[in-house]
Amino acid sequence: MPGFMLGKTHVPHRKNTAGMESVRMPVPETVIIPTSQHIGAPATPTVKVGDTVYVGTKIGEAGGYVSSPIHSSVSGKVKKIDSLLLVGGRSCAAIVIESDGLMTPDPSVAPPKVDNLDGFIAAVRESGLVGLGGAGFPTAVKLDAEKKGLIHRLVINGAECEPYITSDTLTMRNDADYIREGVKLLQKYLTLEEVFIGIESNKPDCIEKLRETFSYDETVKVVSLPSTYPQGAEKVLIYNTTGLIVPEGGLPADVGCLVMNVTSVAFLAKYFETGMPLVEKCVTVDGSAIKNPMNVIAPIGTPVEKLIEFTGGFSKEPGKIMYGGPMMGSAMYSAEYPVLKNTNAIVALDKKDAKPPVQRNCIHCGRCVAACPIGLNPTLFARSMKVEDKAERAARLEEAKIGLCMECGCCSFVCPSARPLVQTNRLAKADLRANGAKK
C-alpha cells in the first residue's frame, strides 16, 4: 500500500439503497438486447425474426477479437431486429424478444468443463462477461494477457465510488462466497501472487465480511480505501491498493495487474457453477425523481421505463435519466432504452437537478488542479482548445498530456464557475485523434 492515497474529491454519497435487499422484478413483456453492450465490435446476430429462444440462448456471436457474444435473457420469440441509436451516439442492431413469461432455460446450458487456461478464457468469452463496473470491456480479452505471462496480481474493484449505486455493495454483502469461488478460479488458471480487494471505508460491513471470507488466504488483501471519489478509477485503484503506477499509454497488465469488478468476479463463480451466461443484472434505481429507490434484479434488455415502473415510478417529472452514476454515467434520450450488461444503476434526476449550473469565467482558483487524481492541469486543455492552428493545438494538447485524462469528472464537479472541463477534454481527445500528428 502507498503512503498516501489518490482521489480526494468529496462527492455526495447518497447511498439510499445501501441497507436494502434486492428485489427480483417480474418478467417484462419484451426485452431489447443491443448487439453492442461492450467496448469493441458489436456482436453479429445469429437469430432471425420468429426464432424461438430460451433464457441463455446465444443470439449473437462475438464480432471480433475485442467483442462479446450476447444471450437472450428471457424465453420467447424474436419479434424484430432493429437499429438502435446508442447513448454514446453510435448505432447498432438490437434484437427485440417477446417473452412467453415462462423463463425456460436453454437446454444446452450446462457448467463449462475446463482444465486449462485456454479453455478457461474460452469459457469466460462464451459467458458474455464484460466489465460490470460500468466500462464494459470484454473480460476474456483482459485474461489473454496471462498467455504472455503478464499477470501477477488481481485487483478487485469493490470501491463503488459513484453516488447512489449500491449493487456491488449487495454483491459483497450477500455473495461473498461467490466472490471467494471466483477468486479461487482465477487463482487456479492465472499465476496470481497477490489479490487485492479495494473497498471504500463507507462500507465497513463489506470490508469486514470479505476479510472474514478470505481469512484463510494471506495472499488476499482487503484494502480499505478513503470514501472519496474516484477510488474505483482503474489507475487510482491500482495505485491505492498496490502502490504501482500504470505508465502513460499503458495498461494495467504493464504493471502486472488484472483489474476486475467485484460483481464480475462473483459472476464468474456463478457461471462455472450453472453455465448460465450473463442474462440478468442487479440494478440500483435511485435519484431525485424516483419515488422508491431500490435494487432490482432485472433481465438484461428490460426497458428502463418498465424497471422504474416496477419500483413505483417517478415521484417528480424526470429531467434526466442516466445509465450508471451521476459522475460518469451516460444520459439517455428516452426511458425506452434497455438495461445493459454493464448497467449497475439507473439514476433519474428531477427537472431541478437536471438543470445545468450557471457557467462563469474561469477564475484560476486551482480547485480542478487539486482535484485531478492524476495530477493534470485541466485549465491547460481548455486553453489549448482555443488555439486556432490545428497542429499547434494538437502539440499543446499532447504536451499537457490529454491522453492521461480518464474522464472521471472531478474537475468539472469541483469547478465553482461550472466550466465544462472534462467535457472539453473529451472534445480535445477527439480533436487530437482527428488532427494529431500521424504516427
Binding site: 489507475k235 434526466k320 439517455m332 469541483v414
Partner: protein, 311 residues
C-alpha cells in the same frame, strides 16, 4: 414522454460557486472595514461606498457598451472596489476614489476580458495608479480619529527615517491605532478575515504565512532586531496585502507549490523595496511584479502527472 436533458457527464455539481467565493471574501473583509471605520471615522464609509458603487457601475456599463453578458452578479466587482477602498486613506477625495476604481475595473479587468482574464490584480494596480497620480491618497498616514497620535507619518516612514516622530507601540499596531490606509492598520481584523477564509477553504493558509514569514525573517537578518522586524510585519499594507491580494486566484499560480514560490517572491521584493528602494512601502509593487511572473512560476511548478513520461 416528456423531454429529457441529455448531456455529457458529470451530472452533479458542487454546491460551491464563484459567487459564493466572492461573497466569502466580502464577509472576510467586513471586520477590516468595520475596524477602519471605527479608527478613522465616517470618512472611511464614504470612500468604501464610492469605490464599491463605482466598481459595480463601471462593470455594468462596460458590459452594456461592449454588448457582453452582464457579470455584475458574480460579485467580483464589489470585491475589487472594497479592496481598493481599504487600500486608501479615509480622507481621499471622492473623485480620486472614482478614478482609481474606474481604472482598476475598466483598464485592468474588463479590457482584458473580465473576471479571470486579467494578468494583474485590479485592486493593486488601482492602488499603484492612485499612488502615482495622487500621492496623498495612499502614501502618508491619515490620523486615527479616536486617539491622539503624535505624528501623521506611517510607521514605515518613521522607520525608514523619511519623517520624524515617535513610533506607536506594537500593541497599538496590532489594534490599528496608527496612521495608514483604512484597511491596512488593524492587524487583528485582518487576521479575523484570514481565519474565516481559511475556514471556508477559500484560500490556503500558506500564501499569507510564507509572504509575511519571508518579510519577517529577511528583516531579522538585515536589522538583527526582533522588535523592528515585528514592526516590519505589522506596518504598511503587508498583512492586508498578504491575506487579501497575494491570495487572488486569477493573478497567482494555479498550483499549490506555485503559490508558495509566489509568496516567497512577494516577501523578498517587499523587503528589497522597503530597505533598499526609494519608496517606504513595497507590498503593492511586490505583488504586481510577482503577478507578472505567475505564468512562469506556474510552468516551473507544474505537477508531474501520475505515470506521465517526461516530455
Amino acid at each position: 414522454m416528456n423531454k429529457l436533458t441529455v448531456s455529457s457527464s458529470p451530472h452533479i455539481h458542487t454546491s460551491n460557486s464563484t459567487q459564493r467565493i466572492m461573497l466569502d471574501v466580502i464577509i472576510a473583509l467586513l471586520p477590516t472595514a468595520v475596524a477602519g471605520t471605527v479608527i478613522f471615522g465616517l470618512g472611511s464609509l464614504l470612500v468604501m461606498g464610492v469605490c464599491v458603487a463605482t466598481a459595480i457601475l463601471s462593470e455594468f456599463l462596460f458590459n452594456i457598451i461592449v454588448k457582453k453578458e452582464q457579470t455584475v452578479s458574480d460579485l467580483s466587482a464589489i470585491v475589487t472596489g472594497l479592496i481598493l477602498a481599504l487600500n486608501l486613506r479615509a480622507d481621499t477625495p471622492w473623485w480620486q476614489c472614482m478614478l482609481g476604481t474606474v481604472f482598476a475595473i475598466i483598464v485592468v479587468k474588463c479590457l482584458f476580458g473580465g473576471l479571470g482574464c486579467n494578468f494583474a490584480n485590479p485592486a493593486i494596480t488601482g492602488r499603484i495608479f492612485m499612488m502615482m497620480s495622487f500621492a496623498s491618497a495612499v502614501g502618508g498616514g491619515a490620523v486615527p480619529s479616536i486617539v491622539e497620535v503624535s505624528s501623521s507619518a506611517t510607521p514605515l516612514e518613521l522607520i525608514s527615517g523619511n519623517k520624524a516622530g515617535a513610533l506607536p507601540s506594537l500593541w497599538d499596531m496590532l489594534l490599528g491605532l496608527r496612521g495608514g490606509a483604512i484597511g491596512e492598520v488593524c492587524a487583528l481584523a485582518i487576521l479575523l478575515g484570514f481565519a474565516y477564509l481559511v475556514y471556508r477553504k477559500v484560500i490556503h493558509f500558506e500564501t499569507p504565512l510564507i509572504f509575511v514569514g519571508t518579510v519577517f525573517v529577511l528583516s531579522l537578518i538585515i536589522t538583527n532586531d526582533l522588535t523592528l522586524s515585528l514592526y516590519q510585519v505589522l506596518s504598511g499594507g503587508l498583512l492586508f496585502g498578504a491575506v487579501f491580494m497575494a491570495t487572488d486566484y486569477v493573478t497567482t499560480p494555479i498550483t499549490r507549490t506555485g503559490k508558495m514560490v509566489f509568496a516567497v517572491g512577494c516577501g523578498l521584493i517587499t523587503v528589497l523595496i522597503r530597505f533598499f528602494g526609494s519608496y517606504p512601502e513595497g507590498v503593492s509593487f511586490a505583488i504586481l511584479l510577482m503577478n507578472i511572473l505567475s505564468p512562469y512560476i506556474e510552468k516551473w511548478t507544474a505537477k508531474r502527472p501520475l505515470g506521465g513520461k517526461k516530455a
